[in-house]
């Protein structure tokens, strides 16, 4: 006699207890602290803040610990927390021209006002595993420090725009859209597209950006400028009516300079692809800028032929929390649907067998 399996509830509890145990690993090895993750896994924290769409280093580090280092799972934890927070409003636009810079490079000019600042970068390191890091030791000696620059550091794209060579962006009136409150509609305005890309999966946006370079919707990009540093966030509380500083955040901004052939209404000029992300994330900011420019194809009168230029394709598939949920939901039970397919297939096969028997008899 068949007896249906029960006990799912106990199985879930036991599975979660096992998960907790494997998260901790060998108890003989000291436990990671959230502060250690926040300080020593800084770029993982930055990625989780960006994809988790929440600028909080402590919470991102905690999420990484809880997720056993699975960064998409960590971003999911952070998003699920973020959604419970009240939304006070939109800040004033960030003035990235006034950024306190740790790094600033331009690939379009050898030298420029404010200079090139390499900052803490993997660029030009030789990727040789450093076995010295395997041994715990004293912290590295402090890096030499140059005098802080006194000259202002204007944005490269602004220098070009003053000459009339870079297309000016029209300021959109009102608060920017927020796709955590309003669902996507198409065609999606640029503010919403940028928000989507800023929280999008780094691998997905990277691959799409790369595809534009390989001929699928390319626009001859130059890195006008990448800047990494801290900016002040200002907010205007309705009861005050004027902006006040509420803190500062670490961000990475990338402005790509792209060719544009011109149209009937506009002369040939450079156009901008824009990337701005939480924390230090150059790969993410650059990919975002490439895809942003590709998504402008329609409004600039260019042919829309490549995946990276297709708004619905890009914006509906960039979110790794949505993607991972739906891909992984396939492991949920589908007995009912599968059973209906089984019966369906058996019916079709039986009918085919009858037909071929009848044919053979004729």
């Amino acid at each position: 006699m068949y007896v249906a399996v029960k006990g799912g509830e106990r199985a879930i509890s036991a599975a979660h207890a096992w998960l907790d145990e494997t998260r901790r690993g060998d108890p003989a090895v000291p436990e990671l602290t959230v502060a250690q993750i926040e300080q020593q896994m800084g770029l993982a924290v930055d990625r989780v803040m960006a994809e988790g769409s929440c600028h909080d280093r402590f919470l991102a580090a905690l999420a990484i610990k809880q997720a056993k280092g699975d960064l998409i799972e960590a971003a999911f934890l952070l998003r699920a927390y973020r959604t419970t927070l009240p939304r006070f409003g939109a800040s004033e636009p960030l003035d990235t021209g006034a950024m306190r810079l740790r790094r600033r490079i331009s690939a379009t000019y050898k030298d420029l006002p404010g200079g090139q600042v390499l900052g803490p970068t993997f660029d030009y390191t030789h990727r040789l595993l450093d076995f010295a890091l395997a041994a715990e030791g004293a912290p590295p000696p402090a890096a030499p420090e140059a005098a802080a620059p006194v000259a202002p550091t204007p944005r490269v794209t602004e220098l070009l725009a003053r000459e009339g060579l870079m297309q000016r962006e029209a300021a959109e009136p009102g608060e920017p859209g927020d796709l955590t409150r309003q669902p996507l509609t198409f065609p999606a305005p640029r503010d919403v597209r940028l928000q989507n890309l800023a929280r999008g999966d780094e691998g997905f946006v990277l691959a799409l950006g790369y595809s534009t370079q390989r001929g699928y919707g390319g626009n001859h990009p130059f890195v006008g400028e990448i800047r990494v540093g801290h900016v002040t966030v200002e907010f205007t509380p309705p009861e005050l009516g004027f902006p006040i500083e509420i803190g500062e955040i670490g961000i990475t901004e990338c402005q790509m300079v792209n060719q544009f052939k011109g149209s009937r209404t506009e002369p040939p000029q450079f156009t901008r692809g824009y990337g701005l992300v939480f924390g230090h994330g150059e790969r993410r900011a650059m990919s975002m800028a490439l895809v942003d420019r590709a998504l402008r194809s329609a409004e600039l009168g260019e042919d829309v032929t490549a995946p990276a230029q297709d708004q619905e394709f890009v914006l509906y598939h960039s979110d790794n929390i949505e993607a991972t949920g739906f891909v992984e939901h396939l492991k949920l039970p589908h007995y009912v649907d599968f059973q209906s397919e089984l019966e369906n297939l058996r019916t079709i096969r039986a009918a085919l067998a009858r037909d071929s028997m009848a044919e053979a008899a004729e």
């Binding site: 619905e312 991972t324 007995y335």
Partner: protein, 284 residues
């Protein structure tokens, strides 16, 4: 009633979000079968695992409600347990496995066998609300097709099955026309369940979290499975009887019992089956 989880609002979502959801639901009820976009929130359960249904349930749930959650017709499947636990934790409401005791039933992939009543609400979890999605992936385009009630694509798709296989081969998520106007995905329920939607006494609400759409079928609304005059719609079920309760009317799960072709068929609706088995024992 248990005390709800400290630090969270009743049923997890804040009241402003619930109001947004209720407005969306009202709009959906007013235009039966029409997908209404809404600002779906990120839930603490993954997208694709019932976030749409959970948000709808959270918006309509009150402290006096009794909740039943089923997945594949069963109350004891892991994801159904997980969602029931979630609402026990964040709302502290009473839960039940008995269809007749529930005021709200959240379901994935099935409609209970027992007829539902006017004082009950059935909340479906929907992975893909757009019935035309496999034929036209662009939402800008499907929106236009719905506006024009241009459902030729779907008719051709069903006709192609008939031309190739002799009958319509869609076994689940079988498209329906609601109130003679909108083509609607019934969610991936077996086609066997489609006729239960027609003129159902209970309100039917559909939540798609990842795709950010809600739609509804008000009580006693006409719901027709798409078909042709010479190829009428026919629900499919395994021809066997349930090995536990002997039902020849219910939808069955096929269970493999060994590696030599042994199998039994049992009701997918565990409450329906259990109630029948209990009644049979009582008589004996």
């Amino acid at each position: 009633m248990n005390a709800p989880l400290a630090g969270y609002n009743f049923a997890y979502l804040d009241e402003a979000t619930k109001r947004m959801l209720r407005r969306t639901i009202l709009k959906a009820v007013a235009v039966p079968g029409h997908q209404i976009p809404f600002g779906a929130r990120e839930m603490p359960l993954p997208y694709g695992w019932g976030t749409g249904g959970i948000q709808v349930t959270a918006a309509i749930l009150g402290p006096a409600d009794t909740l039943k959650v089923i997945d594949q017709g069963a109350d004891d499947t892991t994801n159904a347990i997980s969602i029931r636990r979630f609402f026990t934790r964040v709302a502290g409401v009473a839960t039940t496995e008995r269809t007749e005791e529930a005021t709200i039933i959240q379901t994935r992939h099935r409609i209970p066998e027992a007829a539902l009543r006017e004082d009950q609400i059935l909340v479906y979890q929907v992975p893909q609300p757009e019935p035309l999605s496999k034929l036209e992936p662009r939402r800008a385009e499907t929106k236009r097709l719905h506006a024009l009630a241009d459902y030729g694509l779907m008719h051709v798709r069903l006709y192609e099955d008939i031309a190739r296989l002799g009958h319509i081969a869609k076994a689940y998520d079988y498209p329906v026309m609601v109130n003679g106007r909108y083509l609607m995905s019934p969610s991936p329920i077996p086609a066997f369940d489609n006729p239960k939607m027609h003129r159902m006494a209970a309100l039917q609400l559909f939540g798609a979290g990842r795709e950010k759409r809600i739609y509804a079928i008000p009580p006693y609304t006409e719901v027709r499975s798409l078909d042709f005059e010479d190829h009428p719609f026919r629900p499919i079920r395994a021809p066997q009887a349930c090995a536990l309760c002997g039902s020849r009317e219910s939808y069955l799960d096929e269970v493999i019992t060994d590696d030599r072709g042994g199998r039994v068929f049992v009701c997918s609706d565990t409450d329906y089956c259990g109630t029948r088995v209990a009644a049979q024992k009582g008589v004996a």
